[in-house]
């Protein structure tokens, strides 16, 4: 989880949670979850847990942030890593620009 935190950006904290953002979307969140130790158990509705050494990591879709999320206890609080699709959107924008340039080149010809 420490590695995950270092690859994410802290966005806000309360007395109970630290919220982080990370890019990559659902695939990244699922990949990160799969790298966690412990037996995988499905709780329902696309929610999964892995319990290891008394701690539990949860993979779920946050209803408020609308992102795939990993939550994990950290000290007396919970770390939540919301994995958004910014990287994917950025890639689409880059592709879109490339397509525009290609289209304009064809028209000009």
């Amino acid at each position: 989880m420490r590695n995950l935190r270092s690859a994410a950006t802290l966005t806000n904290s309360t007395n109970r949670v630290n919220n982080y953002n990370k890019s990559g979307g659902q695939n990244q969140a699922w990949y990160d979850f799969q790298r966690m130790p412990g037996n995988q158990q499905q709780i329902g509705n696309g929610k999964y847990i892995k319990a290891y050494e008394g701690k539990t990591v949860t993979y779920y879709r946050s209803t408020t942030a609308n992102h795939w999320t990993l939550s994990y206890p950290y000290s007396t609080k919970t770390d939540k890593i919301f994995t958004n699709s910014i990287k994917f959107v950025y890639q689409m924008e880059v592709l879109s620009e490339a397509f525009k340039r290609f289209y304009l080149t064809i028209i000009q010809k």
């Binding site: 109970r16 949670v17 919220n19 709780i43 329902g44 319990a51 539990t56 946050s62 408020t64 939550s71």
Partner: protein, 164 residues
């Protein structure tokens, strides 16, 4: 009928008949048990009257990320399927996974939580059941700890408390 746990002595003679969920995962950690549920149903009855009562508990998330418990008091085991037994002590036979304890007289109920915008939110419920404690913690998935060790004060505010 309201259970009204916020008033003192309200848990007098209440029995915890079981906890129900579908699915319900149970892990052992040392002498304690950790149960995991997406939606939990607690079944109570009054020792003398055998009147049944249920708490349906689900987790919710505040926009700033804080998790809290949403608790519904109800008279039937919704949302789980059930069959009714014969009168006079009519009971619900609930068709899902369950967890129950040998001793089930409730000795205390504590509710912990926090306040936001002048509203109180429950984050944990601690039930004392004779020789053990059942702690229900808020989260995207509810985590229920069953332990013989008396829990200390939780970090959140004590919102209500009642002793038998």
């Amino acid at each position: 009928m309201k259970m009204n746990w916020k008033s003192t002595d309200s848990n007098n003679e209440w029995l915890l008949l079981g906890m129900f969920s579908n699915p319900l995962h149970i892990n052992q950690i040392s002498n304690d048990l950790s149960l995991y549920s997406n939606e939990l149903l607690l079944k109570f009855c009054k020792q003398k009257s055998h009147k049944l009562h249920y708490w349906r508990i689900i987790g919710a998330e505040y926009p700033d990320g804080d998790d809290f418990l949403t608790l519904f008091e109800q008279k039937d085991p919704y949302p789980f399927e059930y069959e009714l037994t014969e009168e006079p002590n009519q009971d619900h036979i609930i068709a899902c996974s369950s967890f129950s304890t040998e001793h089930n007289l409730i000795t205390k109920v504590h509710g912990y939580g926090f306040s936001k915008n002048s509203k109180e939110y429950l984050s944990s419920i601690v039930l004392g059941v004779e020789h053990m404690y059942i702690m229900i913690h808020a989260g995207s998935i509810l985590q229920i700890k069953v332990t013989e060790q008396e829990p200390g004060m939780l970090t959140d505010d004590l919102l209500f408390s009642s002793f038998n």
